[in-house]
């Protein structure tokens, strides 16, 4: 996949990015590229800096050094709320559904910056087709949904913003294997059918590498390896460290 995109500029590029989380330096010179249409995954142990990487891209955690270029323009220092309208949207760890807004209102917030009422309605139909459960629960408060339903809602809410680049943080966390499979199926669908570029952070390295085109391995805030997902999947060291062999 890398080769297929080699002639196109990356949609997102991090160069030597440092970031601190509190007083701990969580990212140390992280560089990575994502090309349009790709699914790229970041794997690594707990505390390796995977979530921090996503939060730094979104400006929630401030990068202290390095450059972040999205869609041709630097976004380091851009406030987080200014990024969704450029199509850079994150589904953060822990879903962070608005608990006392209804499912419908949560979706509405996902489309907060859009003014095209007709398009919003279409997308609402689209996410209800992807997640029929949400339609049944449309007028229930987000906080009353099960963990799996909340994950669906979190992804649906992000899709309502029509992302160009979707950042997904641990979408399978706490879900039953069946539910997780469903979620990954959806991710693959939006990538294949809508050409949505996806950056996926996952603890379940096995499934992440099966889905992704390319992968990065993060260890204590540094990128220690990058390769085609297939190659990583067959890399004995990776298999030993992250795939439980």
């Amino acid at each position: 996949m890398t080769h297929a995109h080699a002639h196109r500029p990356p949609l997102l590029e991090l160069k030597e990015v440092d970031a601190c989380y509190g007083r701990i330096q969580a990212l140390k010179g992280v560089s990575l590229k994502i090309f349009p249409g790709e699914i790229v995954t970041i794997i690594g142990a707990n505390g390796a800096g995977k979530s921090t990487t996503l939060m730094t891209i979104c400006g929630v955690v401030k990068a202290s050094a390095g450059s972040i270029v999205y869609d041709g323009s630097p976004i380091r220092g851009v406030p987080p709320h200014a990024l969704p309208k450029r199509g850079l949207i994150q589904v953060p760890e822990g879903r962070r559904i608005f608990p006392r807004l209804t499912v419908m209102e949560n979706l509405e917030m996902g489309a907060y910056l859009r003014r095209d009422a007709a398009g919003i309605r279409d997308d609402q139909e689209m996410v209800f087709e992807l997640f029929p459960k949400l339609k049944e629960r449309a007028h229930q408060h987000g906080g009353t949904l099960s963990g799996g339903e909340q994950q669906m809602l979190a992804i649906a809410r992000a899709l309502m913003g029509r992302p160009t680049l979707l950042l997904l943080d641990e979408p399978s966390l706490g879900l039953s294997p069946l539910f997780a499979k469903h979620i990954f199926q959806i991710i693959r669908t939006v990538n294949a059918e809508r050409g949505m570029t996806i950056l996926l952070v996952e603890q379940n390295a096995n499934i992440a590498l099966q889905m992704a085109h390319r992968g990065y391995v993060l260890e204590t805030g540094r990128v220690v390896l990058e390769d085609d997902a297939r190659a990583l999947l067959h890399n004995p060291e990776i298999r030993k460290a992250y795939l439980g062999e």
């Binding site: 979104c58 709320h81 200014a82 962070r96 608005f98 006392r100 807004l101 907060y112 910056l113 809410r157």
Partner: protein
Amino acid sequence: MDYFLQQFLNGLTLGGVYALVALGYTMVYGIIQLINFAHGEFFAAGGYMGVILLSFLASQGYMQTHPWLCLGVALFLSMGYCALLAMAVEKVAYKPLRNSTRLSVLLSALGMSIFLQNGLMLTQGVYDKAYPTEFTQGSITLGPVTISLMQGLILGLTVTLLLTLNFVVFKTKLGKAMRATSMDKTMSALTGIDANRIISITFAIGAALAAAAGILVGLYYGSVRYDMGFVPGIKAFSAAVLGGIGNLYGAMLGGFLIGMVEILAAAYIPHGGQYKDVFAFIILIAVLYFRPTGIMGENVNDARV
């Protein structure tokens, strides 16, 4: 019985005013967890702006020909003025402290309160300023109860404003964004909501409601004073705590309850009128002691802003 009904009505009227002011406390608390001690000053500033505008309109002769239109204009402009004032206060005194401890912001609010009150004193003087009396005459008698035109005006306007606020918070995109921001600022930013803008608007709405209350009180009691914001401010704060701070319906309920208790205590307890102010604070202490989350706090979270 007639006496009770009459007092009940008086309680509703006063309670409506407290409810309007209490909403500002509760909305701001809901969104940035700050007790905005300067909030009572918006009530005073609104009362003053109202009397200044009405006096000006009277001097131009409009009050004699179109009194109700004049009142509407004065109300509208005062609410707008206080909304802008609150946005400025937020920007100067609270926004720079957004990431500091809650105590720093609280102290900044206290300082702002003193600053605004003294500003009013320096520019408007220490004496009472009299409101025009055009609206205080006239009354409607419904069976045993007499509603003065003034009470009718206060109740009608209060209910209108409460319903409008309810609509804005629960039915509009802005209101949903306000609620989303109060629940999770990081997540709301990730959906494109500018928290600073929402916080600013929240202050503006709260202050506009307080300004309306200030005018109504000015009309009702016939005058305003530079320090008029202090005691009603604390009572409205008590009302917000009683209802469950952060909860909109709680603030409305708390406001009406405190107003009612105050009036009924004054009416039925011997010499109650002389220490009527005490009752709001007795309630505040009792609530903090027995149910710190207030009537609608914690479990009934639906109406949070």
